[in-house]
């Protein structure tokens, strides 16, 4: 009886290990890695909304100039701009909620909303 119970225990515990591993493997598979949305605002007004999951290119035409935004592999970045500073171009790609790329001369802001959380907040502890 004791041996039988040990065997059952091992069975139960392996099931409890295998199920989350399978879920993890399914989740890691590419395709649903990114889930955020890029909000592009010009002068505090929304210019465009684009999901991170679709690869696109957006050209932002402002009164002051042009910014070229690329969304690829769940990340967004500014590939080129005709502004004087080029800070937005040298900024690394953004993908997590709250991350921003700002082009001050053109008053363009890229921000990620409802994407992957950067950190765990106090509620989930």
């Amino acid at each position: 009886m004791k041996k039988r119970r040990l065997f059952n225990d091992i069975l139960l515990i392996s099931a409890l290990v295998i199920i989350p591993v399978i879920i993890l493997l399914v989740n890691i598979s590419p395709g649903n890695a990114s889930s955020g949305t890029v909000v592009i605002t010009v002068d505090n007004e929304v210019y465009a909304l684009a999901p991170l999951s679709e690869d696109t290119e957006i050209t932002v035409n402002t009164e002051n100039g042009i910014n070229h935004v690329i969304i690829k592999n769940g990340e967004a970045w500014v590939s080129d701009a005709d502004c004087s500073e080029q800070i937005c171009v040298s900024h690394r790609a953004i993908s997590k909620t709250g991350e921003q790329i700002v082009c001050l001369p053109h008053r363009v802001v890229l921000e990620i909303i409802s994407g992957e959380d950067t950190d765990i907040d106090s509620i989930s502890q």
Binding site: N8, L16, I23
Partner: protein, 177 residues
């Protein structure tokens, strides 16, 4: 009956001490939400020594008191859902007519269901099912801590039997360790 009630009270206070003690251990192994679940030692021991009804009562009392004493009201919701789901899962496995699982298997299942309950409640509160992506990692850590807690409880129950503090004639499941 009266003695069982008195022992239940002692068990709740022991569980509270363990909850408090656990809060002082700063480990989380890089997994937010990771807990050793030391208080579950008491629930498991109560399940085997006093029986399912007492285990459920002790769990409810422990969760509410721990939230009032060391936590906040937002935390109460999560730990309540986790604690209740956990104790009912353990009771269900315990109550299968033939003793199919030992205390270690029951403990592992209890830990995993605690995490499931917490994550599902958190997802419902935040209204965002993506929190559940985090569940597999917590389940794995729950299995590990659950086995540890089960082992501790096993020797605790054995020790309690030897002390004669607990009436072995009415012991709920002496042969099920």
């Amino acid at each position: 009956m009266a003695k069982k009630l008195a022992i239940s009270g002692i068990f709740i206070s022991m569980a509270l001490v363990l909850s408090f003690f656990e809060g002082m251990i700063p480990v989380n192994f890089g997994v937010p939400g990771f807990k050793l679940g030391l208080a579950n030692i008491v629930t498991l021991t109560a399940l085997f020594v006093l029986g399912p009804l007492y285990a459920i009562a002790i769990q409810i009392g422990r969760v509410i008191l721990a939230a009032l004493m060391f936590g906040n009201m937002a935390g109460l919701l999560y730990s309540f859902a986790g604690g209740i789901l956990s104790v009912f899962a353990m009771v269900a496995l315990f109550e299968i007519r033939k003793p199919v699982f030992s205390i270690i298997g029951i403990s592992a299942a209890g830990a995993v269901f605690h995490n499931i309950g917490q994550i599902l409640t958190a997802s419902a509160v935040v209204n965002d099912l993506r929190l559940a992506y985090y569940l597999p990692i917590l389940m794995l850590s729950g299995v590990a801590t659950g086995i540890f807690v089960g082992l501790v409880s096993k020797y605790l129950v054995k020790g309690l039997i030897r002390t004669k503090f607990i009436d072995t004639k009415n012991l709920y499941a002496i042969d099920r360790l």
